[in-house]
């Protein structure tokens, strides 16, 4: 008796729970939901609003008509759009491999659902648009501008252009950035290396030559200084200096003692040799 009542009660409870389960939708904080009534979108839940704090969003429990309405969940978070590296040809015919990425968010889930259905297909479409935009925009630049901070402006141009296309899919491009910009491997990279190498060689040669120059100047200055010191001192009596210096030279020259000297008696040294001559 009690048993039957209990089972009956349980069944009713289960039925109620089931009904509740199909008529209530639990929308998480990082999702937005579209409620479709027989395939036609009738409402959106927890769509993205700027400056909305978590906890005050539309996330949570939502009622819907069971069996007639169903829900589709669309990501609410900022998603990544990673495109394969693009080879960009600058106006001066130099190649650069550009690896860019973008971040986007779905701001109009109904539009997005109607046009591409899934986030994956949206990302595919957007990356196609983005890569062609990047090629076009960066291809219209000179190579040195591609490397320069001026690039910031072309990134903005790209972002604006892609954004216009993205709005048609209900998405918003938040940021377009270049992750890498490299010289293509092979000849361009080798050429860059060669240029760097020759620049270094030039630098090394310049440094050595400058060192030699400086050294020479130092020597010359020292010589000049010495000459000045000598002149100052010896200039006091040039005649005595030449005598003094000659004496020094004689000492040095004949120091070895293996020379032969032929002397005339009229030599100053031998003046007294012959005794006093009539003079």
């Amino acid at each position: 008796m009690t048993q039957r009542n209990l089972i009956f009660g349980g069944a009713v409870l289960a039925l109620l729970l089931l009904l509740l389960a199909v008529s209530v939708v639990r929308v998480p904080e990082d999702r937005q939901a579209i409620i479709l009534q027989l395939g036609r979108p009738v409402a959106t839940v927890n769509t993205w609003q700027p400056k909305q704090a978590f906890g005050e969003t539309g996330a949570g429990l939502v009622l819907k008509t069971p069996f007639v309405q169903n829900t589709v969940f669309i990501d609410k978070r900022i998603m990544s759009l990673d495109i394969p590296p693009q080879t960009v040809l600058s106006t001066d015919q130099l190649r650069l491999v550009v690896d860019a990425f973008a971040r986007f968010r779905i701001v109009n889930p109904v539009r997005m659902y109607e046009t591409v259905r899934t986030e994956e297909r949206l990302a595919e479409e957007l990356s196609r648009i983005l890569s062609s935009r990047i090629r076009n925009e960066l291809g219209a630049q000179r190579f040195d501008l591609l490397l320069s901070p001026e690039r910031g402006r072309s990134m903005d141009n790209i972002q604006d252009a892609v954004n216009r296309s993205a709005l048609a899919y209900g998405a918003e491009i938040i940021d377009v950035r270049i992750k890498r910009a490299d010289l293509p491997p092979g000849t361009p990279l080798e050429a860059a290396f060669e240029r760097m190498r020759t620049a270094r060689q030039q630098e090394a040669l310049t440094i050595r030559a400058n060192g030699a120059k400086e050294a020479q100047i130092i020597r010359a200055e020292a010589d000049a200084q010495a000459a000045r010191v000598y002149a100052e001192s010896f200039g006091k009596d040039p005649e005595f200096y030449s005598f003094y210096r000659a004496m020094e030279a004689y000492r040095k020259t004949f120091n070895q003692g293996n020379s032969s000297v032929v002397l005339s008696p009229s030599n100053e040294f031998l003046r007294e040799f012959q005794g006093r001559r009539g003079g």
Partner: protein
Amino acid sequence: MPWQNNEDGDGTGGDNGGEKRNPWSQSGGNPSGQQGKRGNEGKGDAPKAAGPRNPWGDAPRPRGPNGDDRPKSSGAPDFDEFIRRSQEKLRGLGGGQGPGGGGGGGRGRPNIPWGLIAGGLVVILLATTSAYQVGAGERAVVTRFGQFNVTNGPGFHLKLPAPIDQVTKIQFEDIRTDLIGTADGDAENLMITGDGNVINIAYAVRWRIRNAEDFLFQVADPSATVRDATESAMREVVGRSTLNNAIGPERASIAEQVRERVQEILDSYGAGVLIQGVDINKADPPGAVDEAFKDVSAAQQDAQQFLNQARAYAQQISAQAAGATASFDKVFEQYRLAPEVTRKRMYLETMESVLGKVDKTVIEAPGVQAYLPLPELRRTPAPAPEAGAAR
């Protein structure tokens, strides 16, 4: 392991078994049956209710790695009381089929109180999903029916039971490090500098979570976002720098600029991430041109060497000049006092010392041809130092 707890519970249940066996300990005796039932609830904590020991005491253990017992005692008595009472009730009802013994709950006996068992399970489910523990350095983000409710720090917390409140725990305080490029090995991470040169750079970004709910809900794949943003910011900053600055003096300031830039980018996404720092582990010229770069520093050494040699020469020359002039000055001072005598004396002394060592031939009369003893005439070349001294 819940199953070990289960055995414990069984053991204590056995002690009590003298008075009355309750259906819980019976099914506990048949682990497979118990397992099946518990599989339905999807919670491993159920056997806690089996033994007479405080079921609450063990409940949160599987959740936290460091089974700290203290926080559990807070708020426990209510549940404790509640569960004990429902246990009592169950025991009373289950007593009738005590002799059923090991056969357990598997058999469809007509007088098994299914409703009460189900009710008990629901109660246990509610009890065990109404509390959670947050470890040190963790944050728990609670969502109510999917909507963000609150973020809780470490400790023991109560919440509404499972289907209503859900808890996501994240390692909040962890500082994560992403390496980009390798500091050693052959793989090169090349990057173009503002002056069109190429450097090989390796760096790391250290970051942590600043805001748990932003981190969870704002950006899909936040760690890849951090990485992408860092690579992009590094490119941007290095692209503004020159080769020499990037590999040399400005490395630290580049790292700081990158950190600021990455933080800016991530803040613009609202990613809830704090960049602790960017470390440049390596910024070198690529291997292909490394030799040329080394030659530059060799050239700098060479130039320095030239200068040193020249300075040594200069020192030597000026010392020589100072010496020579000083000695001349001294002699000249004396010479001035008595020129004739001094001059004569110097001459004779010099001649004396010079001619004292050499072979001398004196030829008396002018016009006499002297046949010199040629073999003895060995001329010595003029000594080199004289040339130097003559300057």
